[in-house]
């Protein structure tokens, strides 16, 4: 049945409203960041040029990207084997693991920071006060989202039967995890990784209050007070970067979605 005209119009209006709500701030940011200072007409790329020229900003971008990378690596190394292992060997503990992983979501960031400050006194004492030590806090921060993504992927396959099949064919536990289970949860692992990157690139509270040096959001906030255009350009760049990552992720997953279920 063809949708009625009213319904089609409503659809387009809703879509347009949503697009405007989403795009207008971004367009305004683009406009603001390319405007010539003062009331003179014309456009300038000075603010955007700062992204690759201003040493403080460049340093912050590199720090944030490294933080994102380390956080993702640490999260994957910690979470993926644990979750597979729990599912296979100690299914009784899965509730507990889920609870622990979702905990950071329920406690306000500010509260966590206050609590974690004392721990970080030790971290900085042992590892120095590099901004990269924020990795530890960020791994905890991204746990709830990563857990969800990986858990969904694990639920989509019959982990137990696949691993038993692997073992009967001669695979030890390590091989089962790396060559049987992992390749089949790649989409979930990728979304966990991408969501983590997005979170780390936008994290301000921990970085600012733990006072561990300049990450991108901290510098953006700082520049916001002096060089508005540059700060907005940096924000927009990071939004576009994360958006591209997420769009890339959905294409990546669509590309490799072989049908897992069987047909009789």
């Amino acid at each position: 049945m063809r949708p009625s005209t009213t319904w089609r119009v409503t659809r387009w209006v809703l879509l347009a409203l949503f697009a405007a709500y989403f795009a207008l701030p971004l367009l305004s940011m683009l406009d603001f960041s390319t405007r010539t200072p003062g009331s003179a007409p014309g456009r300038t790329g000075a603010a955007w040029l700062n992204l690759v020229q201003d040493p403080q900003l460049v340093g912050a971008i590199i720090t944030s990207l490294l933080l994102a990378l380390f956080t993702v690596l640490a999260m994957l190394v910690l979470l993926v084997p644990t979750m597979i292992w729990v599912r296979l060997r100690v299914p009784g503990a899965s509730r507990l693991i889920e609870f622990l992983c979702l905990l950071p979501l329920t406690i306000p960031a500010l509260v966590v920071v206050v609590g974690i400050t004392n721990v970080y006194a030790w971290v900085t004492y042992l590892l120095g006060d590099s901004a990269l030590t924020l990795t530890f806090a960020y791994v905890v921060l991204v746990l709830p989202y990563s857990y969800r993504a990986i858990d969904a992927a694990l639920q989509a396959i019959d982990v137990n039967t696949l691993s038993e099949a692997g073992r009967s064919l001669g695979a030890g536990w390590f091989t089962v995890i790396t060559r049987v289970v992992l390749p089949n949860i790649v989409p979930g692992v990728m979304s966990a990784a991408f969501i983590s990157v997005a979170l780390v690139l936008g994290e301000y509270v921990f970085a600012s209050l733990l006072n561990l040096g300049d990450t991108l959001p901290v510098v953006i906030a700082l520049l916001g007070k002096s060089e508005g255009a540059t700060s907005v350009a940096a924000s927009l760049a990071s939004i576009i970067f994360v958006a591209l990552l997420l769009v890339g992720l959905s294409f990546f997953n669509r590309g490799r979605s072989y049908d897992i279920g069987g047909q009789t």
Binding site: E164, A165, G166, S168, L169, G170, V186, I260, G262
Partner: protein
């Protein structure tokens, strides 16, 4: 393709006094079973009888509480699953979704360090054995359920296992595919000659493929025997009732003969020594004669099942029975017809009547 001498001679398997306790349930309660080299033994029983536990213990996927597992004279009780060299086909579809059919079959060979050419050749051979040569490049999701299980069989055989374990491999399939694949499994098993343990809850499946069938109940093995013997001489009421259909008819036993419907029939071992009991009479052992002064029964209804029909009969002053009759004969019977019902001279199992 010919099915002549096995290409390899299987290994013997010895399960000795296996017990498996989960909490307060005894999933296995002293199971002892011997498999001859190259033999296909089916473990048959209702769900929860311990047959799958027995198979998983043999596979190394579960550990016995007590008892031992040995294969070819070697004690494997504490050897982990991945070191046991057993091929297994699961009830659930178990092909690795990220690998092609050929790579699935070659997976075990890769783990054994075979080079690419060798494993491709061997995997292709096994795919040909199950008739799926042309599907090597597909993924599991592109195959039907029956095809997936055939690939799983090829994958299990590719590692040239000492023992092949089949855990209800046909349960997820529809009836027609199930029969085809059942026969195919037997053909392949005879061809490669691998000692095989086949677990199923379907008696027809067990009787059709196995050299011997073991009937399990509550963690115990009730009887192990070749299919025909199991059917003709069940060792217990449970076996008689689980394998095939039975009519329960009042009988009197004296001098190893039972008096049933006026016929005197020999009894098999395990029957009661004397007195009154219940004879378990197969539907095809009932003799029906039309009308006459000796008539003792009335036809209640006739169910056409193709080559045979089931005739439900009310016996005068006794419980109803069901007879299996060739359809050309049954077609002449109508509800209300009077019959003389007797029993043919095959030995019967007569058990004590259950307490009223």
């Amino acid at each position: 393709m010919t099915t002549t001498a096995p290409t390899s001679i299987g290994t013997s398997v010895e399960l000795t006094d296996l017990t498996r306790v989960y909490g307060s349930t005894r999933a296995l309660d002293g199971l002892t079973l011997h498999l001859e080299p190259g033999e296909l033994v089916a473990l048959l029983g209702p769900s929860g009888c311990g047959k799958t536990t027995a198979l998983r213990i043999l596979a190394g996927l579960d550990q016995p509480t007590t008892g031992t597992v040995s294969v070819g004279g070697q004690d494997l009780t504490r050897v982990p699953a991945n070191k046991r060299d057993m091929g297994m086909v699961f009830q659930a579809y178990s092909l690795f979704p990220h690998l092609t059919v050929l790579d699935n079959v070659a997976f075990g060979l890769k783990l054994r360090g075979e080079d690419r050419a060798t494993r491709t050749r061997k995997a292709a051979e096994k795919l040909e054995l199950v008739g799926l040569s042309e599907h090597g490049k597909k993924y599991a999701g592109q195959l039907s359920g029956g095809q997936q299980q055939r690939v799983a069989l090829a994958r299990a055989l590719a590692i040239e296992p000492s023992v092949l374990l089949l855990d209800e491999p046909l349960s997820a399939l529809d009836a027609k595919v199930r029969t085809q694949l059942r026969d195919e499994i037997r053909r392949v098993q005879l061809e490669v000659g691998t000692t095989t343990l086949f677990v199923t809850h379907d008696q027809e499946e067990a009787l059709a493929v196995a050299d011997r069938v073991g009937v399990m109940n509550k963690g115990r093995l009730e009887q192990v025997a070749p299919p025909a013997q199991l059917y003709a001489s069940p060792a217990s009421t449970f076996v008689a009732e689980f394998v095939g259909l039975n009519n329960k008819v009042a009988a009197t036993v004296r001098d190893r003969r039972a008096e049933v419907f006026g016929s005197s029939v020999p009894v098999i071992d395990g029957s009661i020594d004397g007195g009154t009991g219940v004879a378990l009479v197969r539907p095809e052992s009932l003799l029906l004669e039309a009308g006459g002064p000796s008539a003792n029964a009335t036809v209640a209804s006739v169910n056409f099942l193709g080559p045979i029909s089931r005739v439900y009969i009310d016996i005068d002053g006794a419980e109803a029975v069901m007879a299996a009759v060739p359809s050309p004969v049954a077609i002449k019977l109508h509800p209300g017809d009077r019959l003389a019902v007797g029993v043919e001279q095959t030995p019967l199992l007569v058990v004590a009547a259950p307490a009223p």
